[in-house]
């Protein structure tokens, strides 16, 4: 490439070589947070710990060999397109393993519906809903029909946007006591979740139909095109849900900043969780632990372990002489 031109298609290759792993850079932390919160609040060990790790590794690897599915209409060789279809569909397997494990962790659990838990379950819902349309978009024969339409906008907002946002909210509600030494208001948290959850689907679910009607994304106005008259009412509905959803975030912001300064004081381990962060003092200190560093004797998911007096066992509790780790 000389220094006066350049290849727009090469640019797209470079962009999406980052761009698709970026999807998982956004998603994986949210999924990790969800794993922790679902196990803690189901009072059950995470189902398939090693499978979850394997899934993370598989998703990480596959995320680097699927970028071409963003470029099916750039004129790429159809055979190359079919390779990207195959690799993209493969990524559904570890993703489905994770979803299956979340549901089986919840199954017959002693579920505690904290706001963090609701957002985590909400993440599982959006991950399924957005993942299903991902299978459609992974298939080049289907993708070229809806490429650059609102169907794509709906897909990535649900699977990547809402899932990651829900994971982030879940993390904030769950670790707020560790960050600020205070508790957030639970009732406002519930209201925040339900309004956000309903509005998320209210905004993005109709967009699938707007996309299937052929409406391209990034258009300033659809009223100039008679064939899109049918989507105008849907656009009003979407906007109304967006306004209400935004108001719910005012509630969250108020709850967050009010609780930072005025929330009730937190106890050391409010969720009866096993992981090490809950063994540190509520007040932040330099170096995290006042004495020597803790020693770990077990995995972090010993919830409701038979033979134990309580339904949680901290990672720093030594194994009994006849106890197997897990």
């Amino acid at each position: 490439m000389d220094h006066s031109g350049g290849s727009p298609v090469l640019f797209q290759h470079l962009f999406w070589f980052l761009g698709h792993p970026e999807v998982y850079i956004v998603l994986l932390p949210a999924l990790g947070i969800t794993s922790e919160i679902i196990s803690t609040n189901s009072r059950k060990p995470i189902f398939g710990y090693r499978a979850m790790i394997g899934s993370i590794l598989a998703i990480g690897f596959l995320s680097f060999i699927v970028w071409g599915h963003h470029m099916f209409i750039t004129g790429m060789n159809p055979f190359l397109g079919s390779v990207f279809v195959f690799t993209t569909l493969l990524i559904a397997i570890p993703s489905a393993v994770k979803v299956f494990n979340y549901i089986t962790t919840l199954w017959r659990g002693n579920i505690v519906l904290t706001p963090a838990m609701l957002f985590s379950i909400g993440l599982v819902a959006t991950f399924i809903a957005g993942g299903l349309t991902g299978i459609i978009l992974a298939d080049s024969a289907l993708d070229i029909n809806v490429h650059d339409t609102y169907f794509v906008v709906a897909h990535f907002h649900i699977v990547m946007g809402m899932s990651a946002i829900f994971g982030m909210f879940a993390g904030v509600y769950h670790w707020f006591p560790k960050m600020y030494g205070r508790m957030m208001n639970t009732k406002m948290g519930y209201a925040h979740f339900w309004v956000t959850f309903v509005c998320a689907f209210g905004v993005f679910f109709p967009m699938h139909f707007i996309g299937l009607a052929g409406a391209p994304r990034r258009y300033y106005s659809y009223s100039e095109f008679p064939m899109f008259d049918g989507v105008l009412d849907l656009n009003i509905l979407v906007t109304l849900f967006a306004i209400v959803g935004a108001l719910a975030q005012v509630l969250f912001t108020y709850n967050f900043f009010y609780s930072v300064f005025r929330g009730p004081k937190a106890v050391q381990n409010p969720w009866k969780s096993n992981t090490l962060e809950w063994t540190t003092p509520v007040e932040h200190i330099h170096g995290n632990w006042p004495g020597p560093l803790p020693v770990v004797y077990r995995w972090p998911y010993d919830y409701s372990k038979p033979g134990k007096a309580e339904d949680w066992v901290s990672q720093i509790t030594p194994l009994d002489h006849d106890e197997e780790e897990h």
């Binding site: 998982y24 956004v26 990790g32 960050m179």
Partner: protein
């Protein structure tokens, strides 16, 4: 069952009665991972609100095209919303910056920056991150890139408008649309700083997870949050240098810097900065030197 006080066999009691920190060293240029996580979170909340307001403005246009709104006028003024009606060029700009902020500044920097910094030392039993200084730099690069991205809203031609994917030619030809000029240049500068921030954070996360786990914290005893953050950091380290190349070289190789020689400089920057600087840094801290 309370927290057990089981001593690390070869650990040392930590002196909690350390010297009093100044306001600046405690809250601003702090090396403490817990405070840095709060800095990331609060910055991300602010950036999220900017993105939400942008989305409301363009959603109003999509629902009621051509109608004026005081809300739109309040935020954009007469230049970009005459009579409260959103200008078409600003519509493209809002869509672009909304996507950019949400993907990078909220869900990448905000999410990973907050929870990686908070949880890695606390869940692995470490005093802090491997390098508190690099951690601090990571946040301030993030902050600076946020400021530059927001400042692009106030330049004459408006911010970048080529979509968050900044495909050429809209990103490459400075006169393609109003947002292709200074707004696009600021977008590229902002993203380059953001990527530097992410690389510094990611390297720190990987090194801390690999080297600073407390006694007994085998990899198979790590919470899944740690596995997720570890893989996230690895993905970022592997993919973001390509994005620097893309940010600096691809648009720069056409008319953005107007002179071919400048393109050579930016090519050199990408090749001679990312590879000889980042890779040895990574290997040196991974080996503990």
């Amino acid at each position: 069952m309370g927290a057990h006080s089981i001593a690390h066999a070869d650990g040392h009691a930590h002196d909690v009665h350390h010297h009093e920190e100044s306001f600046v060293s405690k809250y601003i240029f702090t090396h403490d991972h817990k405070m840095i996580s709060k800095q990331f979170l609060v910055t991300a909340i602010f950036m999220a609100w900017v993105a939400v307001i942008m989305s409301l403005i363009f959603r109003l246009q999509l629902a009621w095209p051509g109608e004026g709104f005081a809300f739109t006028s309040f935020f954009l003024g007469e230049k970009w919303a005459p009579g409260g009606v959103l200008d078409p060029n600003m519509y493209l700009a809002l869509v672009t910056i909304h996507g950019t902020i949400m993907v990078f500044f909220v869900l990448t920097g905000g999410l990973s920056g907050t929870f990686a910094n908070l949880l890695i030392p606390l869940q692995l039993g470490a005093r802090d991150m491997a390098s508190g200084f690099i951690n601090m730099l990571s946040y301030w690069f993030f902050f600076l890139s946020s400021i530059i991205m927001l400042s692009s809203l106030f330049v004459e031609g408006g911010p970048a408008s080529a979509g968050w994917t900044i495909y050429p030619p809209l990103s490459a030809l400075p006169k393609a649309i109003p947002g292709s000029g200074m707004g696009m240049t600021l977008w590229l500068v902002s993203m380059t700083l953001f990527i530097a921030s992410s690389l510094m954070g990611g390297l720190n996360y990987v090194v801390t997870i690999m080297n600073l786990r407390t006694k007994g914290m085998k990899m198979t005893r790590m919470p899944l949050t740690m596995w997720a953050i570890l893989l996230t950091a690895v993905l970022g380290i592997l993919s973001f240098p390509g994005a620097v190349e893309r940010s600096l070289v691809a648009p720069a190789s056409t008319a953005r810097w107007e002179q071919a020689s400048t393109s050579v400089i930016s090519t050199s920057l990408a090749r001679h900065w990312t590879i000889p600087v980042v890779v040895p840094y990574c290997s040196s801290i991974c080996s503990g030197s």
